[in-house]
């Protein structure tokens, strides 16, 4: 299928698609690395404090020093991957709200992009290292730029409730882009939904075109087909009204549930909108899929399919798709907003409190460190160590890359001369 090949070239498929297991493994790995760093950083901070205090207290006590260190180490309790995920989800919801504070409100597409940026960023970074609050605004601002919704930085910063400076918004930008692996393209299901609804309306008005693999269908047959499907969940006056209603409901699902769950990582946008559409109006969605992939899927138990279906090359695709769409709609349906559930809110408060204690102290003030993100800048003493470490790592990676491919211009001239 050509459309599928088009999607396979996207960075969303190439870099940001995961299986459920690989996704959780990645999150776990990120969490472990980040926890280790947080512990080390906190200890460093504490030891510098302690080395500063003895001069004030007078006598340094080496014995008691060790004793006090042991219990404090135990105190550092880091977030679990699940807690991190809840936290990120909360800030994703916040991003939606933040978009509403602007006048006019930011387009859905921009907000959705920002949310996906946040989600992608926190796959490889931990909220313990970078607080989502600081990243969130930046992600939204970056999304306005990548989605062609121009806003000046000042205008943007003014729209954020509370006193947020332009510097606060922009400072983590490079960091965020790095976390996104510089792939800004997010494929949303919204426009696909419009296309699908457009086609359904055409069918409902008797102007439907058959799919390229099912050329035997005529517009009249399609019209009869759509008229004879089972009634939807809500009583509607006309067919186009029904489609419009399903359209609205799907859009709502896509705006919220699709954004807040891992749907973007696990499914393709086309599958996401169809799953949401299934939730909104199952008979309609099933009919639409049938017009595309032929024949209703006979609801047989464990694979004892109709032989005529087996002959259809689309049958396999159809049955596979059925499973994927069911999984995806289950994922979307299971979603409830955090703020609507008091239990979840209580849990969130606990996590926030916990995060307060295990926040990486070296990463708190991003605005000051923005310059140091550039490799050539010589920064303050706090960052210089990590900076040099980073540079060393980068250099090593470069060398490794160079070692693999032979240099097209040959080895260095000086080396050659010394050999001779």
């Amino acid at each position: 299928m050509i459309e599928d090949d088009i999607y396979r070239t996207s960075s969303q498929f190439r870099l940001w698609s995961y299986t459920e297991s690989s996704l959780s493994a990645l999150r776990e790995k990120t969490n472990i690395i980040a926890s280790g760093r947080v512990r080390a950083a906190l200890q460093r901070a504490r030891s510098t404090q302690q080395s500063a205090t003895p001069s004030a207290t007078g006598t340094p006590q080496p014995g008691s020093d060790g004793e006090t260190k042991k219990p404090t180490e135990k105190e550092i309790e880091c977030l679990t991957p699940e807690e991190e995920l809840v936290l990120v989800r909360y800030y994703c919801e916040k991003t939606l709200e933040l978009g509403d504070t602007y006048k006019p409100p930011l387009p859905t597409m921009v907000r959705a992009t920002a949310i996906q940026y946040l989600r992608r960023f926190y796959l490889t970074n931990s909220p313990m290292t970078y607080h989502p609050k600081s990243i969130m605004a930046c992600a939204l601002f970056l999304a306005t730029k990548t989605d062609n919704y121009y806003m000046s930085l000042r205008q943007f910063a003014d729209g954020i409730p509370g006193d947020t400076s332009t510097e606060d918004v922009i400072s983590p930008e490079f960091l965020l882009m790095q976390g996104l692996r510089f792939t800004f393209d997010v494929r949303h299901p919204f426009r696909g939904l419009e296309g699908g609804v457009m086609e359904l309306q055409a069918i409902a008005q008797g102007q439907g075109a058959p799919g390229p693999h099912l050329l035997h269908q005529t517009p009249q047959q399609l019209l009869q087909g759509i008229q004879s499907i089972a009634p939807g969940p809500f009583p509607t006056s006309s067919l186009s009204d029904r489609i419009a209603r399903a359209h609205g409901a799907t859009r709502e699902t896509l705006k919220s549930a699709a954004q807040m769950t891992d749907a973007y990582f696990l499914y393709t946008p086309s599958q996401i909108w169809l799953s949401a559409f299934l939730l909104a109006d199952r008979p309609l969605a099933e009919f639409y899929l049938d017009t595309k992939l032929g024949g209703p899927l006979t609801p047989t138990i464990d694979g004892s399919a109709d032989p005529s279906d087996l002959q259809n090359p689309l049958y396999e695709l159809r049955s596979k798709l059925h499973k994927v769409l069911t999984d995806c709609s289950a994922l979307l349906q299971a979603y409830t907003t955090l703020s609507s559930d008091p239990n979840q809110m209580k849990d969130l408060k606990r996590i926030a409190k916990k995060l307060y204690h295990c926040q990486n102290p070296e990463k708190v003030n991003l605005a000051h460190k923005r310059d140091s993100a550039q490799p050539q800048a010589v920064s303050s003493q706090v960052t210089s160590e990590s900076e040099s470490e980073r540079l060393a790592k980068k250099r090593k990676l470069e060398e490794k890359a160079r070692g693999g491919a032979s240099d097209i211009f040959g080895p260095e001239l000086v080396m050659e001369r010394t050999k001779q």
Partner: protein, 373 residues
């Protein structure tokens, strides 16, 4: 046929079998033969008999019709050899398959044997009609490959000749250079000796030994420098020669030509694959821009929301094309519908880890986590 004393063909008492005039009377007499019957006759007889068109051979008992144009001087003294060489040339001209055209060395050897057999048949006049028929048939069927091989042979011959003359020229230059060098050397030696003698004459007797030693040293140095120079030149020439022969060789290997299989005469010929005619250039590699698998794009779709845009001249004036919107939304509606991430990504990860690489995602995760902390 063969003269008695073998070597001297300008036999004094050689007599033309047609006009009976002898060389004794006419020292400039030349004898000609015609490959039809190989009967020898003198030039004046040929002029006399065949000037007015083809005529039959004047030798008694021979009824071959001969043409003047075909008469030529005899190459070999033995007419039998002459005839065999002619036949051989003709057959080899037709059966000119090359070794690289055969599957194996064995097949090529068989072919050579077959060819020899045919030549022998023709020479000894056994199965002449059958062999001739075979040859004719083969020639008519394989006219193209015969031509191609002939062209290759000609090219080989000419390039060989060119190489020979080039080598001769090089050798000449080398000899000349060597001669000049020898001359220079001699002159230098002479000059050095004269110089030394004049200095010896001018200087005191105490310096004599030193001057003599010095002069000797200078000579030695010069000769060693020259030797190394020679070496260098020789190396350069060798390298040049090597590259040239390589070039010559490569130009000759373009022997493979397309041709039909032989007319069943020669076995073991390599199947020559005719290269498929080049298809028209397809920049999208099979991708048809307008082809879609999930939907057929229609010129317009009913939509209350879009109808406003459609009828608004302002959008059209701005260059906005609703058709673009249709195609984009529909592509996005189905792009990736058949991509099953669960399967495909798992496969991808298995492939990358199978290669001993870390999956890109986890590598970069480690990088990102490591870099930023």
């Amino acid at each position: 046929m063969a003269s008695k004393n073998g070597i001297d063909r300008r036999d004094e008492d050689e007599v033309c079998p047609v006009c009976k005039s002898s060389r004794y009377l006419n020292p400039n007499m030349r004898f000609l033969i015609n490959p039809e019957c190989y009967h020898k006759m003198c030039e004046s007889c040929v002029d006399r008999i065949f000037s007015s068109g083809p005529s039959s051979c004047p030798v008694a008992g021979c009824r071959k019709t001969l043409r003047k144009a075909r008469f030529r001087a005899q190459t070999f003294e033995d007419i039998g050899v002459e005839r065999e060489v002619d036949i051989r040339r003709r057959v080899m001209h037709i059966l000119n398959r090359r070794e690289e055209e055969f599957d194996s060395k064995r097949a090529y050897d068989d072919f050579l044997e077959q060819r020899e057999e045919m030549i022998a048949n023709l020479v000894h006049r056994t199965d002449v009609a059958k062999t001739e028929a075979q040859l004719q048939k083969y020639a008519s069927v394989n006219i193209q490959s015969i031509r191609a091989n002939q062209a290759i042979e000609e090219q080989e011959a000419s390039s060989f000749a060119a190489r020979m003359t080039q080598e001769q020229e090089e050798a000449r230059l080398r000899r000349q250079a060597a001669r000049e060098q020898l001359e220079n050397e001699r002159r230098e030696m002479q000059a050095g000796r004269e110089d030394m003698i004049s200095r010896l004459a001018a200087g005191s007797s105490a310096d004599a030994a030193a001057i003599a030693r010095e002069g000797h040293k200078v000579l030695l140095k010069k000769s060693s420098a020259r030797r190394s120079e020679e070496d260098r030149i020789r190396q350069k020439q060798a390298a040049l020669r090597g590259s040239e022969t390589k070039r010559g060789g490569s130009s000759l290997t373009t022997a493979d030509t397309a041709g039909p299989s032989d007319g069943g005469l020669i076995k073991g010929l390599r199947r020559i694959k005719t290269p498929e005619p080049e298809k028209p250039y397809d920049p999208f590699m099979g991708y048809v821009p307008e082809k879609r698998d999930y939907y057929a794009l229609q010129p317009s779709y009913p939509s209350t929301y879009l109808d406003r845009v459609k009828n608004d001249t302002r959008t059209a004036a701005g260059g906005y094309d609703l058709q673009e919107y249709y195609s984009r939304t529909l592509v996005e509606a189905f792009a990736g519908l058949g991509c099953f991430i669960g399967e495909e990504v798992a496969q991808r990860e298995a492939a990358t880890s199978g290669l001993g690489l870390k999956p890109a995602a986890t590598t970069s995760a480690a990088m990102a986590a490591g870099d930023e902390s």
